[in-house]
Symmetry: C2
């Protein structure tokens, strides 16, 4: 039996302590005698027994997975710490291409947004001439919407009324059709909003569990949330050969199979796609809407990348607009559409702002939905303020208009170049194929692995794509997410990478990637 | 059949639309002929049928209640709108004494907190000489802890490392015992943290549902969350005659009764108390800890009011410190303690910052707990930054120290006066008895109602205390929360009022209250 095994109860004890004090405690005890330590441990073992254990822990949490922050990312964090401590590696830094975290990758915040936030944080600055008048006007409007004119007050649970009105106006301008501000629920990022809507479907009907259709590959928030809520995940495969479009046949196959086990209640569509980067055509959306209508599905449209369209032949069509223009009965279908401050050109992930627009919800259900969110009081006022700026940006003639438009265009233009750079590079690599990144912030290339690599992965008990991703991380410092974290057709291998490293760094990353891949193929040929 | 009944499908249709456009649509159709409208409605009735209905909605959400934002508060909001529109009422404004919302009631934000927030929002201000050096130092430290030095980046799911370290230091300083920063989980307010811990207990054992002990009266977040999670609520009554203390006999009674139906897994204690305002003695905490140990309960200590102690004979004792000082086996018990930026002297409710310190959690469980929060990415960086200032305020010798201490003392001193003013007033009212408000921000007086009033309430289908509260609201504009929203001994009547209106307004409110009560007694005598 090893010392560490004997010491483990002390380690438990140490959970109560900071590392420093644990160290001193340990040496203090050890100086005396080893047997004292052991005796103390035995005594502790007899008394301390956790009441919450892996055996009686919420089973839904145990099965939950969230790949974007999974073991690979944990390892990337460890490597960063090793590098800080001067460890010798074949690279100087970890490049986190695993998460759509724009500012972390060097994107600069939009000045106007931050000016408004500084003003609402510290209203004394409203008298400061260094701030432009339009930023002050936005800040004054937000403060007026807050109780006691302070961001420190709770807001109504669905958000500050004037901001909800601005959101509705933004949607009206975007779609050219009406939006009711009372259908807007502001949230701490889109994730929060999505969970609050998915939660409504937790209900057995006819002795069957509820099911929610989600795309495969999907953004793992969906699989994680469905696991947590014990809702059946009904996956439908996106068609990689048709640029990750949705085929009606596949939707039919998926739902018919699912119906044997659960009651499908809703369908999630992510457009532009995450992790897949496609932008759905209007015709494709119409097909999905018809399918949802026929199958009586509530539509959850994840439209957080609505500003991120790079392909000149693609256009963002909101589900709401398409449904509306299809006329009845589609126009009256229930829909929740989600938007976020974390993506687009602003990339303000850490501020946690987003919204759901919920249309045609049964009024009784809507009352219950609003009640359910009220127990969490309200979403953060800084997130709400950020959202306000995004839906109500400087207008022509206002002092910040030109700079704002320039900032915005520059981010989107650069992302467009990077989208192309990423897809082109992968398509030039042996055994790779990558659909064009029409939108969003990710590429999801498919790649072939030599049988020997698959063998080696098996030996390590890893999925082949995870094996590849770990090797890539350890060899180059590049952190991506294996396709198995998002779901993929059995037997295929993918990964998701963001297109977010700044152009020069992205170029270097892609060069290193290509070099790694060549070496990898050589090693396992 | 009335016209409105016939028109209702159009109303459904209108859900898709803003009021203005609905109006134009309506008149456009109506201009043609009424029968066209009816025909269209019939067609719509035939096609539109919501898929998510009150029948197949999550049943846990249906049973959930959250009194702090319940029907009384909704009515208060309506009255506010009526007043805005010039409605004639016997009062000029609604006084929202229903919710611990400090800034909404006129409390001024602490300057230093807001300076730091302005600096992290807009780092260009770091060069501005109007900001003090210590605020800049805090801001620089926070920004350095953010990826890409921007608050717009995602943080680690449990929060920014340097802020977690500051929290641990704050706890060490408070308790004089060690705290490990890796046990700190920063959250979007305490509610978020509490839900994330309660979630872990969702697990049937030996065919029985889990149960969680909560005080009665309690803060309705607990009952709402337990309803949502389908965990049995095991209420134990606080002893009003002993200043809302916890009696061991009552804990025993409560758990023994509960064990017939569920498996009690955890106990929630709120100290200082909400809605009851008591501060637990060290001896009482020791009793609770012993009870929890004997019954193998995980302790959830809601300590968000730890700065709000007004009674000179009371002192805040953290559960952690008490447990630690009791030695083994208590020292090794599992505990989650919660803290918030929304209360104390800062009252920054809207910013959504808080933390949980989780000690002695089984390492495997802790890993699952951290995984579960990772799917929500991270809590808001502004909330985290606020928390940082609260746990790391200006120190003696720093430029903002004196002003900060003055601001803080002034808020707490004023709350202390108001606590006394409220309890004294209620104790002077006929049929009222109110325990002293030793801490927190609320009074929870008991009052007797004349039989005729109870009769009248019954006729209206309302709980007597709700009946009283509605009458108070309509007559005076004062909004309180009936005791039934928090739970109370059967046959007793209470309400919760905050002590937050500013002194002059509070005085006027209490005068009006007393007058109302006299009239009420006269009316129902």
């Amino acid at each position: 039996m090893s010392t560490s095994r004997l010491l483990s109860p002390l380690h438990n004890y140490g959970k109560f302590q900071s590392t420093a004090s644990l160290r001193s405690q340990k040496s203090a005890v050890c100086v005396g005698s080893r047997s004292v330590l052991i005796k103390q441990n035995i005594r502790r073992m007899a008394t301390h027994k956790p009441t919450l254990t892996i055996e009686n822990l919420n089973p839904c949490i145990k099965v939950m997975e969230y790949a974007v922050r999974g073991p690979l990312v944990t390892r990337a964090g460890e490597i960063e710490k090793e590098l800080e401590k001067g460890a010798s590696k074949p690279f100087k830094e970890v490049i986190k291409a695993n998460i759509g975290d724009c500012h972390a990758m060097g994107q600069v915040p939009i000045t106007f947004i931050r000016q408004v936030l500084a003003l609402v944080a510290y209203p004394k600055l409203l008298d400061d001439p260094q701030f432009p008048e339009d930023a002050k006007e936005r800040a004054r409007t937000i403060l007026k919407g807050c109780r006691g004119s302070s961001l420190g007050s709770y807001t109504d649970s669905p958000g500050i009324e004037v901001i909800r009105r601005h959101v509705a106006q933004y949607i009206e301008n975007r779609d050219g059709i009406p939006s009711d501000w009372q259908n807007i629920v502001i949230s701490g990022g889109a994730s929060d909003a999505i969970k609050n809507v998915l939660k409504l479907f937790i209900c057995r009907t006819n002795g069957k569990k509820p099911g929610v259709m989600i795309p495969i590959p999907q953004y793992p928030l969906y699989s994680a949330t469905l696991s947590e809520f014990d809702i059946d995940q009904v996956g439908y495969y996106l068609d990689e050969s048709k640029n990750w479009g949705l085929s009606l046949q596949e939707l039919e196959r998926s739902i018919n199979e699912a119906k044997k086990q659960c009651t499908p209640r809703a369908i999630v569509v992510i457009n532009p796609g995450n992790p897949t980067g496609q932008v759905l055509t209007k015709e494709n959306i119409e097909e999905i809407v018809k399918f949802a209508q026929k199958e009586k599905l509530f539509i959850l449209a994840d439209e957080v990348y609505q500003h991120n369209i790079y392909d000149p032949n693609s256009k963002f069509h909101s589900f709401k607009k398409v449904m509306y223009e299809m006329g009845e009965p589609y126009r009256s279908m229930e829909l929740a559409s989600f938007m976020s401050c974390s993506k687009g050109y602003m990339g303000e992930c850490g501020l946690r702002g987003g919204y759901a627009e919920v249309v045609n919800m049964d009024p009784e259900v809507k009352a219950q939905y609003f009640k359910a969110i009220s127990a969490m009081l309200c979403s953060t006022t800084f997130g709400q303020s950020t959202l306000d700026v995004i839906v109500n940006p400087p207008k022509p003639g206002e002092p910040s208009y030109e700079q704002f438009e320039k900032d915005k265009a520059s981010v989107l233009e650069s992302l467009k170049l990077r989208a192309k750079m990423v897809a082109d590079t992968f398509n030039s690599m042996e055994g790779f194929s990558c659909n064009p990144v029409q939108g969003a912030m990710y590429a999801f290339p498919q790649f072939k692995l030599p049988p020997k690599a698959i063998e080696a992965a098996k030996k390590k008990g890893q999925a082949p794509d995870a094996f590849y991703a770990f090797d890539l991380l350890e060899s180059t410092g590049i952190c991506i997410v294996p396709g198995s974290g998002f779901g993929q057709q059995p037997g295929t291998h993918h990964f998701r990478t963001t297109i977010l490293p700044q152009p020069e760094k992205l170029k270097a990353m892609l060069d290193k990637f290509a070099e790694f891949h060549t070496q990898f193929l050589k090693k396992y040929s």
